[in-house]
Amino acid sequence: MMTILRSPRTLPLVTACSLLLAGGCSGERDAPSQSGASAGPPASEPIAPEVEWRTAASADERYYVRWRPLAEPIPLADPFDVEVEVWTDESMTEAGRFDRIIVDAGMPHHRHGMNIVPEISAEGPARFIARGMLFHMPGRWQLYVDLIEDGRLERSQWSMWLSG
C-alpha cells in the first residue's frame, strides 16, 4: 500500500516567522488524496517528451529514480511541476516499492529549502507528479527524492543551476 505525504521539511526561520504572523506555521501535513490532484494530464499521456530525464540511483541502489521538470527551463520564482519515476532496476521495468515519497528541494549554500510545500500525486505504479515546486531565487538548487519504507529513508538527489 502506497501512501503519499507532503514534504515535512522545516521552513527557514524568516519564512517561518512570516507565516507565524500570518496565522501559524504548519509542519508535516496530512496526505492529500489522489483524487485531489486534479490538474495535469492523464497518466498514460507522455508529458513534455522533449525534456530530458535526469536519473540517479539511491544511496544503497535499492531504487533507480528519474525526474524531469514539466517546464523547461525551470522558471524563477514561478511554480512548476516535476514528474518522477521510481524503479527497482536500472532498466526500469519494475516499479519501486516503498511507503512514502517526498519530493523537495533546497539551497545548501543559503541554508534554506523551498518556502512552499509541493503536492504529490501518484499517476501510475512508478510515476508521480509533484505540483507546486517553487525555486524562489536564482542560484544552485538541489532536488531531493526521498523514499521511505518501514521507517527507513533512502535519498536520491541532483544539483542544478537556476539563472536569474
Binding site: S7, T10, R152
Partner: protein, 650 residues
C-alpha cells in the same frame, strides 16, 4: 530583490514593533526586573538558585535529589556558606528500579519549609528521570505534588495518598506532548506552566491537567524561545531562561511577550549582566529581584529593577549574539584527516579538513528542524574518515542519519556547501521493532543513542550506546541491529583505538568505568577499570592506549595511560594539562575531545569559542575556529615585574 528578501524586509519591523508595543496590560505595576546588580561565583555543578525569605540564596545541584548545597547570604555575597546537609526534594526509600516503591518526598527549595509526603510502597509507579517536584498545596485546588519526568516526557499529579490524579505528556510536539521538559510552575489559580525545552515552547494547562494554550517556537526574535530551561512566576509575570538565546524572556501569564533581558557573553567570565547558558531563574516574591544560575560559568547573577521601569526595560538593546562568530561546540568527532562538530545554536554540523596544522572549515550540513535531513538535538556524532561518512543521532526527532561527503582528497582545500549529502536515515522506532524481533526476551523502548564508534577490524559493525534501553547495539550499514552487546545503565562514550573498543560508563555505584568490548559490543571482561575522575563530561578520546578526558569543571585534560595497563582495578589520572584561561593552551569548559591521525588531540574549548590542537604529550600546536586558525601563540608577552625600587628591568 528575491521573495525571501522581501519577506525579511517586511517581517522584521513588524515583528519588532509588534513585540515591543504589546505593553503589559496585566502587570500590576510598571516595575521591571532585569538590571544587573552583582554576581557570585559558585562551584561547578550548581544548577538551581532560589531566594530564601531572609534574602539569602540557596544554590543546589539540581531540582531533585540530594547533594551539597550552598547558601549565599545577602550581606556577604562573596562568601557562600557550604551547607553539607542535603536539601533533598526527593527521598526514595528503595531504588527506583523496583516496580512499585515506597516514597518519601521532602520539598524545601520551593516552600522553604519541610513538605513531606509519605507514599506507601506499591502505590506509585517508579519515577523516570525526575527533574522537578512541585507541591500542589500552593494551588487552591489540590493537595499533593507535581512531578516532572524529563526522560519520560511527562508530568504527573500525585495525591498525598500516592494515587495518581492525572498525567500529561508523552514524547511529541502536539498539544499536551513534551520533548525533554525541564521545569514546571503554578500560578495563583493553580494553572500549570511547563517548560517544553526541545519543543522550544511554554505550555499552559488547567489545574485538572487539560491543555489550555502554548506559545514560543524556536527562534531569537522577541517572544520566540531557544531551549527554554526554567520558569518562575511572580504575580502576573512569567520569567523564562533560554539556554541557547542566552537571555531571560518575560511574558504575562497569557503568553504575551513583555521584554527580554540578558545578552550573550562574548568572553568567559564576562558576566555583568551578560548571560551564558542560563539554567534556572528565581524571582523574589515581591518581584523586585531575580537570581539566575549559569552552571557553564559557575556563577549566579543578581538582577534588580530597572530604575526607569518597563519603559527602560524595553529600551534595552535587543539581545544580540553578533559579537560571537561561533559558539563552537559541543559534540565533536574526529578521525584521521577530518573533524566534525555540532553547534547547538545554529543547529548545523561543521566539517573541517585536518590535513593542515589547523582545522579548515570545508562544509556545513543540516539545520535545526524536524525534517528527515534536519536535526533537532544531537545525541551522538560519528565520523568515519575512510568512508567519508558521518552518522548522526537525533534524540528529539528519534532518527539516525547517514551523511556522505563528496570530497576529492587530492583537490585543493576549499569550502563547498554542497559537499555533504544525506544518503539514508532511519526512524528509531523501526530500530526498536527490529530489536524486538532479534531479542524478544527483552522489553524494548525507542532507543536513545548517545555515542557511536566502530572498530577498525574488517567488517566491524557500527556500535551504538543506547541510553534508553541501557545497552550497546551493533548495527549494520543500514542501521539494522546485528547483535545486542553489553548492558550499560549510564553510557557516556564508546571509544575505538584501532581494533580495540572500550565503553566509558557510569557504573551502578556512579563510578566512572572503562570497559573493554569486542567489535560487536560484548564485554571482554566483567570489571574493567574504575577511573578516579569526578567530572561528568562526555568528552573523551583514546589514542595508542592512552585515554584523554575533558575535565569541564577543572578546565583541563586528564590523561590516563600507565594506570590503564592493568585490566582491572582503579586508576587515577597520570598527567594533566591546561588550566582556566583564554590563552593558547588554556581552557574554559572543554566540551569535547577527539583523536586525529594517531598523533594529535583536538579539544573543543567551548567557553572560549574555539578548538585547540595538541600533541599527545600536551604540547599546544594550534588554535582554530570556523573562520580563523593559527600556529604561532597569540599569548601576550610576559612582562617582567619592576624592581622594588621601581626601576624597569633592562
Amino acid at each position: 530583490m528575491g521573495p525571501l528578501a522581501h519577506t525579511l524586509s517586511l517581517t522584521l519591523p513588524v515583528l519588532l514593533s509588534g513585540a515591543f508595543a504589546q505593553g503589559s496590560p496585566g502587570a500590576t505595576d510598571d516595575g521591571a526586573v532585569g538590571a544587573f546588580a552583582h554576581q557570585v561565583e559558585v562551584p561547578a555543578g550548581m544548577e538551581r538558585a532560589s531566594f530564601l525569605p531572609n534574602g539569602a540564596v540557596r544554590v543546589a545541584p539540581s531540582g531533585v535529589g540530594s547533594g551539597r548545597t550552598l547558601i549565599v547570604p545577602p550581606l556577604d555575597p562573596e562568601q557562600p556558606i557550604v551547607e553539607e546537609r542535603p536539601i533533598c526534594t526527593l527521598l526514595l526509600d528503595d531504588p527506583v528500579s523496583d516496580d512499585r516503591v515506597p516514597l518519601r518526598i521532602q520539598i524545601e527549595n520551593v516552600l522553604d519549609r519541610p513538605y513531606t509526603v509519605e507514599i506507601p510502597g506499591g502505590a506509585l509507579e517508579p519515577l523516570e528521570d525526575p527533574v522537578r517536584i512541585l507541591p500542589l498545596d500552593a494551588s487552591p485546588h489540590r493537595k499533593g505534588f507535581l512531578v516532572l519526568e524529563r526522560g519520560a516526557h511527562r508530568l504527573r499529579a500525585i495525591g498525598v495518598d500516592g494515587r495518581e490524579r492525572f498525567r500529561i505528556g508523552g514524547k511529541g510536539a502536539g498539544p499536551g506532548q513534551f520533548n525533554f521538559p525541564s521545569d514546571v510552575a503554578l500560578d495563583a489559580e493553580g494553572r500549570i506552566f511547563v517548560v517544553d525545552t526541545d519543543n522550544h515552547r511554554i505550555q499552559r494547562f488547567h489545574p485538572d491537567g487539560a491543555f489550555d494554550r502554548e506559545w514560543g517556537g524556536r527562534g531569537a526574535f522577541p517572544g520566540l524561545l531557544a531551549a527554554p530551561s526554567s520558569i518562575d512566576i511572580e504575580g502576573d509575570r512569567l520569567y523564562v531562561t533560554e539556554e541557547l538565546n542566552h537571555r531571560v524572556s518575560v511574558f504575562d501569564l497569557n503568553g504575551r511577550f513583555l521584554y527580554p533581558w540578558g545578552m550573550h557573553a562574548v568572553v568567559p567570565r564576562q558576566g555583568e549582566g551578560r548571560i551564558h547558558y542560563p539554567r534556572s531563574i528565581d524571582v523574589s516574591a515581591d518581584g523586585t529581584r531575580a537570581v539566575v544560575c549559569e552552571p557553564f560559568e559557575r556563577r549566579i547573577q543578581y538582577f534588580t529593577r530597572f530604575p526607569g521601569g518597563m519603559e527602560e526595560a524595553r529600551r534595552q538593546a535587543m539581545p544580540s549574539k553578533q559579537d560571537v562568530s561561533s559558539h563552537f561546540g559541543r559534540y565533536l568527532a574526529g578521525d584521521d584527516d577530518l573533524l566534525a562538530m555540532w553547534e547547538p545554536e545554529s543547529g548545523a554540523v561543521a566539517v573541517f579538513d585536518m590535513t593542515t596544522d589547523t582545522g579548515i572549515n570545508i562544509t556545513v550540513f543540516t539545520n535545526h528542524g524536524s525534517g528527515w535531513d534536519d536535526l533537532a538535538r544531537m545525541g551522538a556524532l560519528h565520523l568515519d574518515s575512510d568512508r567519508q561518512e558521518f552518522v548522526v543521532s537525533d534524540v528529539v526527532n528519534d532518527r539516525l542519519q547517514l551523511w556522505r561527503l563528496d570530497r576529492d582528497r587530492e583537490a585543493s582545500i576549499k569550502y563547498d556547501p554542497f559537499m555533504a549529502r544525506l544518503t539514508s536515515a532511519v526512524e528509531l522506532d523501526a530500530l526498536r521493532a527490529d530489536l524486538a524481533s532479534i531479542a524478544p526476551d527483552r522489553s524494548w523502548v525507542v532507543p536513545r543513542i548517545v555515542s557511536f564508534t566502530r572498530s577498525e577490524a574488517p567488517d566491524a559493525p557500527l556500535l551504538a550506546a543506547d541510553e534508553a534501553n541501557g545497552v550497546v547495539l551493533a548495527l549494520d550499514d543500514r542501521f539494522r541491529p546485528v547483535a545486542v552487546g553489553v548492558d550499560c545503565a549510564t553510557p557516556l562514550e564508546l571509544l575505538a583505538d584501532g581494533e580495540d573498543v572500550r565503553l566509558l560508563e557510569r557504573d551502578d555505584q556512579a563510578r566512572l568505568r572503562l570497559l573493554p568490548l569486542d567489535e560487536r559490543g560484548s564485554a571482554l571482561d566483567g570489571e574493567g577499570t574504575i577511573l578516579e575522575f569526578n567530572d561528568a563530561t562526555r568528552g573523551a578520546a583514546l589514542l595508542d592506549g592512552v585515554l584523554f578526558l575533558g575535565n569541564q569543571s577543572g578546565d583541563r585534560i586528564d590523561v590516563f595511560d600507565r594506570s590503564l595497563a592493568s585490566s582491572e582495578g582503579s586508576a587515577g589520572s597520570d598527567r594533566q594539562w591546561g588550566q582556566t584561561g583564554e590563552l593558547d593552551g588554556q581552557f574554559y569548559a572543554p566540551a569535547g575531545v577527539a583523536a586525529l591521525d594517531g598523533e594529535r588531540i583536538v579539544v573543543v574549548d567551548q567557553g572560549n569559542h574555539r578548538a585547540q590542537i595538541f600533541a599527545a604529550d600536551g604540547s599546544w600546536l594550534s588554535t582554530f575556529s570556523l573562520s580563523s586558525g593559527y600556529t604561532v601563540p597569540r599569548n601576550p608577552p610576559q612582562v617582567e615585574a619592576p624592581a622594588e625600587d621601581g626601576a624597569l628591568p633592562e
